[in-house]
Symmetry: C3
Subunit: 339 residues, 3 copies
């Protein structure tokens, strides 16, 4: 892309920026805020949130968190409220894209104090998604901190809420057992959430089992990175191909994703996916573990109603913490914090 160098020391991109201690501090601050601690006001700031994809919890929790601090949120939906964008350098813009990121972002970032962006993986070319063309462009071009609201490979705002949920439910996290289990789904999905779970849990020293059917592997670069972080943090990362990985775990996190090794092969992926419907998370499989999912969740496909509506489900608390963790993060960045 040849973008300008990253100019801002406060971008929040893959969630590792705060480091393990900073991450724990944000999670604990979120729980304090939920328990009634007064937010540290950031009156008069403006947050621009650009959504290239739909959102419910991410947008509303961010907006609610901003407002609670006195920050005005502006929601921008390019291609819906505005025109389609081009991201490639040197593009000859004689087609349907009317706006280039190089022209839009410096201006937008001058209108606000914080910029947030959502842009999902296209799931066509693994190298394109690894390059994070949209978030990379925003971070390179923005004069203001950029918050990742889910990119091709990461979902750090979700990761922060997940960390706060673990702290709330499990206390000290080192050595706590997390099963991250692949789940069935009618559509191929990006891997930003499971990637983020690996990174977040490994930073916090959890003992992670990554379970998926053959062919539904995550990006080996990311698994390798998480393995290294787990080692440093006092935990471990093991890969399993059993749908029963939740047995004995403290918490099971279910999520569907497309396999990295078949990236872009939609037909083959659909065939493989259809063959794995028996990976649905059941009450028996969850057992005594807490159950987590980032929502929205396909009921009775990813997981049985009896789990979601039963006593082992943590999903409402987990999603509720999206607002409090966003507030903790905005408090930090809105008051000039860096990493």
């Amino acid at each position: 892309m040849g973008l300008p160098p990253k100019t801002c020391a406060a971008h929040y991109f893959d969630g590792t920026e705060p480091g393990p201690d900073g991450l724990m501090a944000l999670a604990q601050r979120a729980l304090e805020l939920r328990d009634g601690s007064s937010p540290r006001r950031c009156d008069g700031l403006r947050l621009g949130a650009v959504f290239f994809n739909p959102s419910l919890r991410t947008r509303t929790s961010l907006e609610a968190a901003a407002v609670a601090l006195g920050i005005h949120p502006m929601i921008i939906q390019p291609g819906k409220d505005a025109w389609g964008w081009a991201f490639e350098d040197g593009a000859i813009m004689d087609g349907g894209q009317a706006e280039h990121v190089r022209d839009a972002v410096p201006v937008l970032s001058s209108y606000v104090d914080l910029l947030a962006v959502r842009s999902f993986a296209r799931l066509i070319d693994p190298e394109e998604d690894r390059a994070e063309p949209v978030l990379g462009a925003f971070m390179g071009l923005s004069s203001r901190p950029v918050l990742n609201l889910e990119s091709c490979r990461w979902h750090p705002m979700q990761g922060l809420a997940d960390a706060a949920t673990w702290v709330s439910r499990l206390g000290p996290l080192r050595g706590k057992r997390l099963a991250l289990s692949w789940a069935p789904h009618p559509k191929p999905l990006p891997a930003a959430v499971p990637n983020q779970v690996l990174l977040t849990a490994s930073m916090l020293g959890m003992d992670i089992t990554l379970a998926h059917p053959e062919g539904f592997d995550l990006d080996p670069q990311i698994v390798g990175r998480a393995t290294g972080l787990a080692r440093v943090g006092g935990g471990a990362l093991t890969v399993s191909h059993s749908p029963d990985a939740a047995a004995g775990a403290d918490v099971v996190y279910a999520k569907s994703w497309s396999g990295f090794s078949g990236y872009g092969d939609r037909v083959g992926e659909a065939v493989r996916r259809a063959a794995c419907a028996d990976w649905m998370m059941t009450r028996e499989r969850v057992g005594g573990a807490g159950f987590m999912h980032c929502l929205p969740v396909r009921r009775n496909v990813v997981v049985e109603d009896s789990v979601l509506d039963g006593p082992r489900s943590w999903v409402t608390e987990q999603a509720g913490l999206r607002m409090w963790t966003a507030m903790a993060l905005l408090e930090h960045l809105g008051r000039g914090g860096t990493w």
Copy 2:
């Protein structure tokens, strides 16, 4: 649906919750606010407004009213800004719906202090619409008061503005003569507004003539309920099949709706509707009555320009009162009021 029991004593669903005295108090408070009384601030509250259908006046009047009280409004448009929702219990979500109301509402309601919802009748199965699947789910699942912004059968925010308009124009309402007259329209429409007019006017003791062509009856359950309320309130409800019911009335309220007895029969309904174009409200028919309509209105189909642009039209005041009545309601609920 098997929803959890209604947990909140402040839902505003069919507009009868405040009772006749409470309804009059809200209408009068709205007129005071319009006349310059200072709003009672509710600073720092958040209102989530979920629109499953389009809106102009309802959204903008609610947003303006919220802001005037220091309440931050968040507008949510599922299926546009977010994903399509499932509402049925036990749904196997392997199709196009990505989000279940059971997962979304508890979380959304935890982000806000008040929740408001619009979801129109589908006009396919009368029992489905009578069951109010969307509003019912929200009220059952929300930990916060739910405001109905027009559901299958009710439009209580409109009813409140209608009541304030009657008070503003007619003074004491007992025995005042209201004609609710069916009107032509190019499309079949839900009956939430005429249902609400019946309920509101009967609670306030007005003398109501419900006029419609044969086959364009309202739900007999609702007509029966309004008849009972009118009797208690000192008024009466009469059904007529004449397009000239406005003669001698203090106010005529025109509105198109689909007949209840032909519910779901779109072809037959269109034939019957086409045969009743002569029910258009004219200057002659309105005579000396005030003219009301909830807007938007099909000019020269529902009603002649000469009525809307003439001295007997109350529609601009009526729609203008949407903001002031919303403000009165939010003042009450935002300060912890129940019914």
Copy 3:
């Protein structure tokens, strides 16, 4: 249209309302605000912004400016968030349009303190676009000041930012040389921006060269009006058919537009447009002039990357000034200013 007389002395429609001195004062106030002067608060006001067409900079700069002054912005997108609108008097509304401007605007304007509207030219009938059916209706029907966010023929908020850019870069403007140069584009575009550039620059006494290929003339009414204004202001307006009009200019403003003489002839216009691809603005053509464009810009079609990304480009400052000029204008109108 037979609309009611314009009732408000503070509409901002074609940007000439403040007169040359008022325009300079707004431009200078915008630069003061950018340099850190405290905004004059307008707390508690509400601004309704109605977009019949997409927007990025216009909406976000207006919203950011409003918020900085304590004004709450409400964004309304008819036909997306609401129903399609009718504008013709006497319309028999039995088709797809559910809302008439005559019913909507008086109500909407009663909910807010300021109303803003975007509605582009349809480029079918020159007389229809000259009549400004949408902005005209809003100005005739609104009880509050109406701000034009780009209409068929004008874009005065852009004009204000352009003026501030000229002041920022060139100091006193009388006699400064501006080249307004037509540019290639894959689609036929309205002429609101070049019309506005002519009007703004001529009011400020600049020496203007309007350059375009044969057949891409602007409306002679507007060229005539600008010529008169330039004469009064101490400048001049010359028409050229050379793509090299920037030579010797202080600033070149590139923009594509449809020719007025071929209005509505889409096929012929496309053929003529395709033959003028060599009007693309290059580094050689720009020379020592500053380069301006209203954005969004088709890179490597309208102008080469090397210009936009080079030292002669003023476009980021120009677009950045959208927020500060909107703030200066809202300060004036929000505090009761008229023209």
